[in-house]
Symmetry: C2
Subunit: 356 residues, 2 copies
């Protein structure tokens, strides 16, 4: 089975896959919770149901939201929890190896929002979208600027925030997958943009390469109220919140009249059980400053994905949007790549490349 | 000088007035902070500037927001702080005693949103509105259902919340000036309405007289998560927040997808310095449930006051809206009436009657 050279065509292939061995209610998940196993996947057509395809995984994004579906609690983000022993899924790209759908041929490259983190898997073809090989767009772009990170940033800034030119915009986790694009969208709208991030190196990159007017290292400038007073002498009009907790609390002490806060997630709180999450004690300021705060999930805006895609492709062609990612190599690296998302060690989107 | 009988017409009148003697950064303000003094007010026409009138105060509402302008901090609600030694102001009704504006005559009854809490005062006539004596509306209604309490409730429920029929609506401080009307507006929209309040007696009144489907005593059912689970088996679609703190935290654990939260104020936090305010640790739920939360001040909706007034007058005529108030008698009772706002001891709006 798989691996060794054979005279006859192989009928199965070995496939490594990451599955949930135990829920992780708090802290960064480890190999105690997420384990790698090897299974045999049949290559026989008869074993593939109609309207399904067998896909070889090429790459996935490694997203913080995944943290919320392996806590064993229903509450967090209200996404369904992954069942024990099931393979984890992520937004990814694969190559069709066998097809039982006439719209997909062997060799097609497809985007699958629900890719199993497995070298090979049989998937229903409903959610697959074929990539046009003539478009000349690098594969990582499809899951980065043209994928959920770019789409999330666009909803937060362009749809919910919709800042007027000259607005003062603050973005936390600014060097992360979402923040990186959010700052650029705000600059394209003529705003003054400041970001927070976890290292001096990333502060420099945000200013030098991503056009941020200012950025600061929240680990060094850990008095957030003082930092925001310094970087926002005229207050904050729009905050894209990726972290929650004490940073959100400080932002509410520096908001202008009618400020908006769009919340994509709260990374600083994901590894904590609900009862131990940081309280935000400055919400009264929402009244005096008439602040609008809104949480959102991309899934509710899918009807606008086409509009976003057209805009982003134009920006890419015109080189108005830049993109960075850190690639981890090999399916074995998934757990390491996932932990890195919570360590401030990466610039841009974290991607796991499984095959080329 | 006022008081004794005189042969000639008196040229001055004694006037008792409440002034700010010291800022009260926390706790319920006392006679250490707010003091009564007597001054002489001239009745001579020459002493009144043009476009001003001398008004005898008849009644004022006693509003929790006043707490925020005597803390000595600029931050809270961002309303300007009253200066030391200045007379406090409130929404009130007075009688014109002397007029230097041809549009006002002696004896006119006028609404003054910025009434000095003083028996007599000379005021600019810009903000005065004459009451039509033929309208046959009881005076307290002008500062209660037709005043800021009713207007605030209408903005929160009809303008910001705008719930669909059948929505599950929760109102805190439900027996207070704003809550009392908010629940009735939500019922008029066909919603299921539950309120929290501070005594069993008020629970009963909310259900029997104000049409609330359910109500609970938050002092007895002090596990707010358990209470909300019990009264909202189908979750909360709209929350009108008058109190903030732990009740808001619990609400966010029971919101439905796309819930709205309109914040009028946070009474439970007003007597606390900002650093000691209760943190809300459940804001992450705003993402998964895509909650919209918005603080507001009535002043930003004045362009809709006419629309509200017409609607409320219709409701009053059709007896669709009920109203309660607790009247404290005599200007000397102001401090007692103000403290009562924070003690859950009253049903409906607290009004101070100064003259009849």
């Amino acid at each position: 089975m798989g691996g060794g050279a054979g005279v006859a065509a192989a009928t199965t292939v070995e496939s490594k896959e990451w599955y949930l061995a135990a829920y992780a209610p708090q802290n960064i998940p480890t190999s105690e919770h997420i384990k790698l196993r090897t299974v045999n996947v049949s290559l026989e057509y008869d074993s593939i149901p109609d309207q399904h395809v067998l896909v070889q995984l090429l790459m996935i994004t490694v997203d913080p939201y995944l943290r919320n579906v392996i806590t064993g609690r229903d509450g967090d983000l209200y996404l369904p929890q992954i069942l024990l022993n099931k393979v984890l899924t992520e937004f990814g790209i694969g190559r069709v190896v066998r097809s039982k759908n006439i719209n997909f041929n062997e060799g097609d490259i497809v985007i699958n929002p629900f890719s199993s983190i497995a070298e090979y898997s049989v998937v229903p073809s409903d959610f697959l979208r074929k990539i046009d090989p003539t478009a000349n767009i690098a594969l990582p772009n499809y899951i980065n600027c043209l994928g959920l990170p770019g789409f999330t940033a666009w909803i937060g800034i362009d749809v919910i925030g919709n800042p007027a030119p000259g607005s003062n915009v603050f973005i936390s986790a600014a060097a992360g997958g979402v923040g990186m694009f959010a700052g650029q969208f705000a600059k394209l709208k003529g705003c003054r943009v400041v970001g927070s991030t976890g290292s001096d190196e990333k502060v420099q990159i945000l200013k030098d390469e991503f056009g941020y007017d200012q950025a600061f290292n929240y680990r060094k400038e850990s008095d957030f109220n003082a930092a925001l007073a310094k970087y926002f002498p005229n207050g904050i009009d729009l905050y894209l919140d990726n972290v929650g907790g004490k940073m959100l609390e400080a932002v509410l002490n520096h908001v202008n009249k009618g400020a908006r806060i769009a919340i994509t997630g709260m990374m600083s709180q994901y590894n904590t059980i609900p009862a131990e999450r940081e309280g935000v004690n400055s919400l009264l300021n929402m009244v005096g400053k008439e602040v609008k705060m809104e949480g959102f999930l991309c899934g509710s805006y899918l009807n606008r994905f086409g509009e976003f895609e057209t805009l982003m492709e134009t920006y890419l062609k015109e080189e108005k949007i830049k993109s960075k990612h850190k690639i981890y190599q090999g399916i074995e690296s998934f757990l390491e790549s996932f932990a890195s998302v919570f360590s401030s060690s990466n610039m841009g989107k974290v991607i796991l490349q499984v095959a080329s």
